[in-house]
Amino acid sequence: MLQLCNLTRAYELGGERAGVFGVSLAVPKGSLAVLAGPSGSGKTTLLQLAGLLDVPDEGSILLDGQEVSNLPERERCDLRLRRLGFVFQAFNLVPVLSALENVMLPLQLQGVAEDEARRRAGAALDRVGLADRLHHRPGQLSGGQQQRAAIARALAPDPLLVLADEPTASLDHAHGGPLMDLMAELAAERGVTFLVASHDPAVIARANHVFRLADGRLIEEEHL
């Protein structure tokens, strides 16, 4: 479903060369894959490249068999909107919108009618256990609830691939584990592929595929 071929993206960080170098990997459809490794290993850089948020210096990205690494910005935006979903460490819900409106946002940007967007967003929030928090603003939700809302937002447009950057890092163990269980369930249930950057053992333990990075290079793959 997702293939990264010999991907390189280098940048200067504190006077040193950082990034990812010659990484190739493949993530099958419907799997929960984890990019694991210590801080500075290149997990987030690789996730951003896979999510078309950044452009590689070298290499190619194939999404569902289509080469997407060098598309013009307008088409990259469109792909992100229709085929990709994002979950961030700091949740990053829009603070002035309710949970329901946050989940409706990508649907409405796609041009889905408001009533239909409301129905689909409500169903997505119901699926992540927030049916009774539809009209709460992010500030009125706990960290775990915000991250569930972020997952609902990522899933509402029915994406092919959801990219999650350290989704449990801002949560305690009591909330991080169930969140990962939810992701695993959704991957199995909907056939959505999850690519998660994390160094959390609880996350890695729930993965089907683990890609270990160090100093920007892929050093180990585990397929469970």
Binding site: G51, L53, C77, L84, F88, V94, P95
Partner: protein
């Protein structure tokens, strides 16, 4: 509709800052629209004064009458002005034609002589269409003006109405007997004894010091003018058609020069230009103040939402849509500012007009006037459009800044 909703929510997020920005917009709207209402009052007053001061809506005069000193003599006159006036009175667009003659000479009290500018008018028609009785009323309040009245319709009456300054310089008052001296059309010196029946205050010192008014019959005896008239003042039935009627009547009378009042009222034109310059400069300053204040607010708002913009871009929002989002924020600020500004303007206008504030006499004029800020919807519309355009412009730079953010850097922003 998600972008307008998001824009509105963003403005309400920082209520205090939005309120302060709105105050700047409201102040700009208020200042410009009140100034516009004041300008409208001034222009209306000046145009009324010019039209009803004797110009009428159109003036028919001989070609070249405005050139040289002959403008104040009968050397250049409409040879058969009375017949021309009778012809024009039959025109369906014309309400009335007022013939008038202008002349110069000396006015003597016996002990002292003063140069004057004279206007001869029809004593019956003039009070019906012109504001001569108003200036007579003001003149009656001046020293020696008690008992002022308008000229008698009797063609044998030899009467004069003097400007208050002219009367003062001769020591004349109502009832005084004076001698008018001038030259006939043939160049011979002639004189007529006249009785002062009134003093007039024309509002301008220069005119009050020189101007006098007599009947056409009195002027005919002094100037031996016959049917010749310096000018014909035309009062139109539809004043708004002045420009079109000028073109039409000029085509009917190619041997004459037909001028609209606004080309002849030089004081009106000068004041209009001056006001446009003053209020144009004021508008420019307010434009800059509003522009900088709102651009600052929107820019601060962008800087506080860098990560949020990164998330929106990651979700697939196009850079142009961020620009549109900021334009919506500017649009809402403009709409709210204009709505509040309009309400504030109407309230303040009503309050100021209710106070009956007496304004000082403008430079060169002899009396003040009551402040009456006009209600001019077109001014409010123009100000609102100007404010809206300013807000859209002020949102442009922050919008471009947001649109140019690199997603990965925006997501790292703390």
């Amino acid at each position: 509709m998600i972008l307008p909703r998001l824009a509105l929510r963003n403005l309400l997020r920082q209520r205090r800052r939005t309120a302060l920005t709105l105050m700047v917009v409201v102040a700009g709207f208020l200042a410009l629209s009140l100034a516009g209402g004041f300008m409208a009052q001034t222009f209306q007053g000046l145009s009324d004064a010019a039209i009803r001061g004797g110009l009428g809506h159109l003036q028919v005069m001989p070609p070249g009458a405005m050139e040289g000193d002959e403008a104040q003599s009968l050397e250049k006159a409409l040879p058969d002005g009375e017949a021309l006036a009778a012809r024009l009175r039959r025109d369906p667009a014309v309400a009335e034609v007022l013939p008038r003659s202008q002349f110069m000479g000396l006015l003597s009290s016996g002990a002292k002589s003063v140069a004057f500018l004279g206007t001869a008018v029809d004593p019956v028609l003039e009070p019906k269409y012109m504001a001569c009785l108003d200036s007579l009323k003001d003149g009656a309040k001046a020293s020696g003006g008690a008992g002022s009245r308008w000229l008698s319709p009797d063609p044998s009456a030899r009467e004069v109405i003097l400007g208050v300054g002219l009367a003062h310089s001769l020591g004349a008052s109502v009832g005084s007997l004076l001698t008018l001296m001038s030259t006939t059309r043939d160049g011979a010196l002639n004189a007529v004894d006249v009785e002062v029946v009134g003093l007039q205050d024309l509002g301008l010192r220069e005119l009050n010091d020189r101007l006098l008014t007599v009947s056409l019959a009195t002027a005919n005896q002094l100037l031996d003018a016959g049917p010749a008239r310096s000018r014909l003042s035309i009062v139109l039935k539809r004043p708004r058609d002045t420009a079109a009627e000028q073109t039409r009547i000029q085509a009917l009378l190619p041997e004459t020069s037909v001028k609209p009042w606004f080309e002849l009222a030089s004081f009106y034109r000068q004041v209009k230009l001056l006001y446009y310059a003053i209020f144009g400069f004021m508008g420019l300053v307010l434009f800059l103040v509003v522009l900088l204040a709102t651009a600052n607010t929107l820019l601060m708002s962008v800087m506080e939402r860098v990560r949020e913009f990164g998330v929106l871009r990651a979700m697939g929002l196009q850079p142009g849509q961020l620009l549109v989002l900021l334009q919506w924020e500017g649009a809402f600020l403009g709409l709210m500012g204009s709505a509040l500004g309009l309400a504030a303007t109407l309230l303040l206008r009503a309050g100021l007009n209710a106070l009956h504030i007496q304004m000082p006499a403008p430079p060169g004029t002899s009396h003040g006037y009551e402040l009456d800020i006009h209600f001019v919807p077109a001014v409010y519309l123009i100000v609102a459009i100007g404010i809206q355009a300013t807000l859209q412009l002020s949102a442009l730079f922050p919008g471009l800044k947001a649109a140019r953010l690199r997603i990965v850097e925006a997501l790292r922003h703390v």
